[in-house]
């Protein structure tokens, strides 16, 4: 039974507090995640010194490298060190002595271009297909979309990639099979983006179409949607004005969840197409047990995913809030 904040200043403070609390919780979650990453790399056999060693290095050399990289210090100390640099934007130094921020400066924007394009295309396609299916419940179009989306989601990215490569590149020769990196660290032409984006979009559209279709079906059985049909409103209007607004919270949550899967898929797809993104960086960093670099990648991906989830929560809150 709290008395309402009457003054403008108190209301503003209240609002800031309400936005800050979830952001704080997510930041804490990210710290826990990074700690888990540090521990996991430590538990893997081998370390950065051994994996970057040249053939024939003596044990003394190895120990010296280990000391140079700080691997002889306890794990928590290295973690605290790395976290300490974080507020200043310093993501540490990789096992090869380069700044992690410099290593990520080119690949991160490339991956963002890939993931954001795939994300937008996924949202548009799944809304379109989901609405199309929901407007024809039980009819052939609905069933075809239902089965096709299940099949698409069941396909792993590498199978989709191989299929796309075979059809669109090797047989028809329309698109380049491999991404060639230009002098500025970006793919040489935009056509090189098409195959990786499609390989990500197809499985994710399968998943999200099912989410959209299901959320719309739930709304279809609500009394106000049935009343709208009895009022003689055309089906497309009932769908867009009465069914879809109620389905938005469920759709936003489903779509936000798939950003995590998109990033995961990007690692596989980038490797397959030789796309210059953080996926390639991450794969080689894990092979080299390069903890600061892995943590840097996780940090960036985690921050992006957290932001998307926060946005989804805000959308959900705003649309649910309309009901009270």
């Amino acid at each position: 039974m709290s008395r309402p904040a009457d003054t403008g200043a108190r209301r503003a403070a209240h609002l800031a507090l309400r936005a800050a609390a979830p952001a704080g919780r997510r930041a804490l979650l990210l710290v826990v995640l990074l700690a888990a990453v540090f521990t996991a790399v430590e538990l893997l056999p081998g370390d950065a010194a051994g994996n970057s060693a040249e053939r024939g290095e003596s044990a003394a050399d190895l120990a010296a490298r280990r000391h140079l990289l700080g691997l002889d210090r306890p794990l928590w100390e290295r973690f605290a060190d790395w976290m300490g640099g974080l507020p200043t934007g310093d993501l540490g130094t990789s096992a090869h002595g380069q700044k992690v921020t410099a290593l990520l400066a080119d690949p991160l924007p490339n991956t963002l271009v890939l993931a954001v394009t795939a994300f937008l295309l996924t949202v548009a396609l799944s809304l379109l297909l989901g609405c199309w299916a929901a407007a024809r419940p039980g009819r052939p179009a609905d069933r075809v979309i239902g089965h096709a989306s299940t099949a698409a989601f069941a396909l792993p990215e590498f199978v989709v990639s191989a299929g796309l490569l075979l059809v669109l590149s090797l047989w028809t020769g329309w698109l380049p099979a491999v991404t060639v990196t230009g002098g500025d660290g970006r793919p040489a032409t935009w056509t090189m983006l098409v195959l990786p984006v499609l390989a990500l979009v197809i499985p994710q559209t399968g998943w999200n179409t099912r989410v959209v279709r299901g959320a719309l079906a739930d709304q279809a059985s609500t009394p106000h949607v049935q009343a709208a049909h009895l009022d003689g409103l055309p089906p497309h209007r009932v769908l867009l004005r009465h069914q879809l607004p109620g389905a938005v919270p469920a759709i936003a949550t489903g779509v936000a969840t798939s950003t995590g899967l998109l990033f995961g898929g990007a690692v596989v797809v980038e490797t397959l197409f030789n796309y210059p993104g953080i996926g390639t960086v991450l794969a080689s960093a894990v092979a080299a047990r390069d903890t600061p670099l892995i943590a840097g990648v996780v940090m960036c991906a985690g921050a992006v995913i957290s932001l998307v989830l926060l946005a989804a929560d805000l959308v959900r809150h705003a649309t649910l809030g309309a009901r009270t």
């Binding site: 039974m1 709208a228 003689g232 409103l233 309309a322 009901r323």
Partner: protein, 515 residues
């Protein structure tokens, strides 16, 4: 089916061809219950036709058949003709045009039939032949929702039950229909609002030469405004549906279903066997708000004090929109946006129902106004009743089925209805399931929000008798929101009269309401 001679001659000549006619229309599920017994009726422009009959007699089925909406799987025999066409046989596009331009249907639960995400103005404008702001506001004003009340910019969840009903009516009128079908248009309205509606319907029928069909339990409405009555109970046979045979209103001492002579509400295993100690539920200085658009707050209650002692019966009345439902929701812990103090037996009671203990939750039970929204549409009646039994009693699993049958019997439903879902019940039957669910918890304080407004007079009287019996036997405190002054006077001792969020008068029901 009787098609009684018009009580009053409408302005349109009776010799004119009817705008809608059904003859020997029978609607049933294959191998299943009859939903509408063979009915013959003629509906004329400019006249008001009333469909009467007990709850579950097929009034809603007939209204929906007139807009071409038969229950899934149901088959119709006989003929039905609306503006020269048979609605349920029309191709989808033509049926849509008929609904969109000529025949408007308003269900009995307008609260859940209005899109919760649209404002009243947009809801009306969506169907209007002229969606301009001025015309929309005029339509709302015609349905006694004046433009200066700010109601046009509220969403349905920020409106009272009566206001929602009038928004739904404005939405129906917006398309300028030829036939207006209204299911229980006065349920949940106070006497003044009811007279307003009756006057409005008369005005529409004559002014717009509109054919109005109302399904109603309200004898007053039938008397004041119907030109013409069709009674659906006349030829009912009991075997048809297994529902209680409706009785004639004049002699009601022979209920067709057996009411138990001794009403045992709580299973013997519930711990509070004696009368509850303490001084019941009290509320002090309650201010409550609800949120409109742009986080604007509308006051719903201000400075309300309330007390319900064990075994007492309190009525809350007042005009539509005066905060009656909000007060019940505050007491039930469902409207936490308020200031003030709640106590139960002298101990503080949390504002939010989730912060209350399981025992406190059990002791205060609410039967809401709108049973369709309160019952889970995917659960059978038995499942709805099992949850409170599982949560609030230590009845063994094996004894639950018997207890459910007993509860259904108490509210006058056959035990066979336990396997039905809310969609397969009539509005009145759903309301009784909702009451049975509240009783299953064995409450000490029962909050009833217009629980009898969707029931016919006899069932309503039976339900009120049952509640009065509980009060005598178990010292259950009753808090009844009702517009029915007679009912309130008969069954309650104290009345609080609310007017725009304030308690304007309190006193013994007998002297305040009968005068």
């Amino acid at each position: 089916m009787s098609d009684r001679a018009p009580a009053r001659t409408g302005t349109a000549g009776t010799s004119e061809a009817p705008v809608a006619a059904v003859s020997d229309l029978l609607i049933r599920l294959p191998e299943g219950p009859v939903l509408l017994p063979a009915t013959t009726a003629r509906i004329h422009a400019g006249r008001i036709t009333a469909l009467t009959g007990a709850s579950g007699s097929g009034k809603t089925t007939l209204l929906r058949a007139l807009v071409g909406d038969l229950p899934p799987g149901a088959a119709a025999t006989g003929t039905i003709e609306v503006l020269g066409r048979t609605p349920h046989l029309l191709p989808a596009g033509e049926l849509r045009r008929l609904r969109r331009t000529a025949v408007a249907y308003v269900g009995q639960d307008p609260g859940s039939a209005l899109n919760p995400r649209m404002t009243a103005r947009r809801l009306v404008a969506e169907l209007a032949t002229d969606p301009s702001r001025g015309q929309t506001l005029r339509l709302l004003a015609e349905c006694s929702l004046p433009a200066d009340s700010g109601i046009a910019d509220r969403r349905p969840t920020a409106l009272s039950g009566g206001q929602q009903r009038r928004v739904a009516l404005a939405r129906a009128l917006a398309r300028d229909p030829e036939i207006l079908l209204l299911d229980e248009p006065t349920a949940g309205l106070d006497a003044t609002a009811r007279d307003d509606i009756a006057r409005l319907l008369r005005h529409l029928a004559t002014g717009r030469n509109l054919a109005v069909v109302i399904a109603t339990h309200d004898p007053h409405l039938v008397e004041t405004c119907a030109d013409h009555t069709i009674d659906l109970t006349r030829t009912r046979t009991r075997a048809d549906r297994g529902v209680p045979t409706p009785r004639a209103a004049s002699d009601r001492p022979t209920p067709a279903y057996t009411r138990p002579t001794k009403v045992d509400v709580r299973p013997g295993t519930v711990d509070t066997s004696g009368p509850p100690a303490g001084d019941g539920l009290a509320a002090l200085g309650i201010d409550a708000f609800f949120q409109g658009r742009h986080r604007r707050r509308h006051p719903a209650l201000s400075g309300v004090a309330f007390h319900a002692a064990p075994g007492s019966a309190t009525a809350i009345t007042g005009p539509s929109g005066s905060g009656k439902t909000t007060l019940l929701r505050v007491l039930a812990g469902l409207h936490p946006a308020h200031t003030g103090h709640l106590t139960l037996d002298g101990r503080p009671l949390a504002a939010h129902v989730r912060r209350r203990t399981r025992e406190q939750q059990r002791r205060i039970q609410l039967v809401p106004q709108n049973p369709m929204a309160a019952l889970n549409p995917r659960h059978t009646v038995a499942q709805q009743l099992t949850r409170p039994l599982r949560l609030h009693t230590d009845l063994p699993r094996s004894a639950r089925a018997d207890r459910i049958a007993e509860l259904l019997d108490q509210v006058g439903l056959p035990a066979g209805h336990a396997s039905r879902r809310p969609g397969e019940l009539s509005g009145g039957q759903r309301q009784r399931v909702s009451i049975a669910r509240a009783l299953a918890a064995g409450p000490d304080i029962l909050l009833c929000d217009e629980v009898t407004s969707a029931l016919d007079t006899d069932t309503a009287a039976d339900i009120m008798d049952l509640l009065t019996h509980l009060r005598a036997e178990h010292r259950t405190a009753l808090v009844v929101v009702s517009h029915d002054h007679h009912l309130a006077a008969r069954h309650t001792d104290t009345v609080h009269i609310l007017g725009s969020g304030h308690i304007t008068n309190t006193g013994p029901t007998a002297s305040l309401l009968t005068s």
